[in-house]
Symmetry: C2
Subunit: 85 residues, 2 copies
């Protein structure tokens, strides 16, 4: 068994209203960062998973995404896996 | 001028209590994902910035991080820049 570090990036799909992104963009403009646009705020989740190999980690992540981490109607996700031990 | 896509990853520093991370880990365990641990939930922000070069984009991001995006007492961040146009 090895330990894998997983980085998961969840963001709203294009076309889905993202009020947090709108708020950040507005703040940026008010503070003088005028050239910033199309701000989207999503989730960055890191975790460690113990598994025998990377394929097992992938299955685990995709199952978790489907079961409770990601709402596929409004969100999309990607991830990176790195063996740490 | 070019358009750069920026991906910003903000997470709590080690040692800072992360209640969302604790909640996700608990949910994972209850749903049978027993080998998941050390879950941390942070922010994944994407934006486009118009600038003459990558150094300008870096300065812009670091200034925004300092001014309003990141709380350095409890959070840390990293980012990636990619020219899109």
């Amino acid at each position: 068994m090895a330990i894998y570090l997983v980085k998961l990036f969840i963001s709203y799909r294009q076309g889905v209203l993202d009020p947090q992104g709108v708020a950040v963009e507005k703040a940026a403009h008010q503070l003088g960062f005028e050239r910033v646009r199309n701000v989207r705020v999503g989730k960055f989740i890191t975790m460690e998973i113990e598994a025998s190999n990377e394929d097992e980690v992938k299955r685990e992540i995709e199952e978790m995404a489907k079961k409770f981490l990601v709402n596929p109607v409004i969100e999309e996700y990607s991830y990176e896996i790195e063996e740490v031990k």
